[in-house]
Amino acid sequence: MNSCIVAFCCEHSAYPAADLAGKLKLHCPESLRIIRVPCAGRVDVIHILKAFENGAVAVLVLGCEDGACHHITGNTRAKERVKYCNMLLKEIEADGRHVAMFNLSPNEPHKFVRAVNEITKRIKESGR
């Protein structure tokens, strides 16, 4: 099973950044699956856990920078939930699985690619 990465991308920052990465012909791993959400604050713990249940190896939640969230507290909520998810995963020693949150602006495609590469590196390190 290839190491599938699910990325919940906020339509105000991460999704346009992903598009820009495409326009600039930057390279991303093919196993990346982007799911568009109106705000990182919409991503709930159950969505992340279900992604793992369906075979994802890593889940990325990508939202706006602090102080630039279109919905003021969306990115902070997402950060709290990702922290809670990491705790839930640690509880069941699912160290092979990773969930991480990164903040970026819509004009930062390189940051988007760096986030994907960072999570891929973590997967390799944990030998999945």
């Binding site: 856990l49 995963l89 069941i92």
Partner: protein
């Protein structure tokens, strides 16, 4: 409102270790409102258990169900056929819900997945604080509406104790306010400090003969 907190995964694992098929039963009232055992938490725990592949744990199948209130026999009855299908029930309701479930389905083991902690209120979303200890002999009229039985670490009727920290904080936790300082400030504001100056004799700790039983006069 009853406040509860989910048990650590380690405890839950030990309880359900011998069983292959489980029913996770949530309750949509108190434990849902305090984010401990509602339909959403049932989904999260079920997902966690399915993902729990560590150290060769055998795959378990998990059914999910949530009833309006698990402390009502008729509502728990709706789960009868699902309970027949499984080896054990993991209830995310408060203690009263778990025991109603255990009573209704005596042939199946029923386990608690949450710890029922106290009767309280949310200070802000995500933070709940204890307000009432259900002592059966309410004392709030004499303390300006602040209960020293549960909000004072020692439950004193003639507070505060000598260990009160600077700034009116509790002896055991510098973050918590000393209940008797709160009472003092409120009674002072209302000009009713005589209530605090009054001597209160030892409390009747048997006001509710445990386990409590209340027979409504009209039924």
């Amino acid at each position: 409102m009853i406040i509860a907190e989910r048990k650590p995964m380690e405890e839950i694992r030990q309880m359900i270790a011998p069983y292959k098929k489980l029913l996770l039963a949530g309750c949509a009232t108190c434990v849902a409102v305090c984010w401990a055992g509602g339909e959403k938490e049932v989904g999260i725990l079920a997902s966690q258990l399915r993902l729990d592949q560590s150290k060769g744990r055998k795959k378990i199948s998990v059914l999910e169900a949530t009833v309006e209130r698990q402390c009502e026999k008729e509502m728990v009855e709706e789960l009868r056929d699902k309970v027949q299908e499984v080896d054990a029930v993991l209830s995310l309701a408060c203690g009263s819900g778990v025991q109603t479930m255990a009573e209704m389905f005596e042939d199946k083991p029923v386990f608690p997945a949450v710890n029922t902690t106290f009767i309280g209120m949310p200070e802000r979303e995500g933070l709940w604080v204890e307000m009432c200890g259900a002592c059966g002999d309410c004392f709030l009229d004499r303390t300006g509406g602040i209960c020293p039985i549960v909000r004072c670490a020692k439950g004193l009727l003639n507070g505060p104790c000598g260990g009160m920290r600077k700034g009116g904080k509790c002896e055991i936790d510098p973050e918590k306010d000393c209940a008797w300082v709160l009472i003092y400030r409120r009674l002072e504001k209302q000009g009713r400090l005589d209530l605090m100056r009054e001597y209160y004799p030892p409390k009747n700790y048997r006001a509710v003969k445990r386990p409590g039983r209340i027979q409504a006069a009209k039924a």
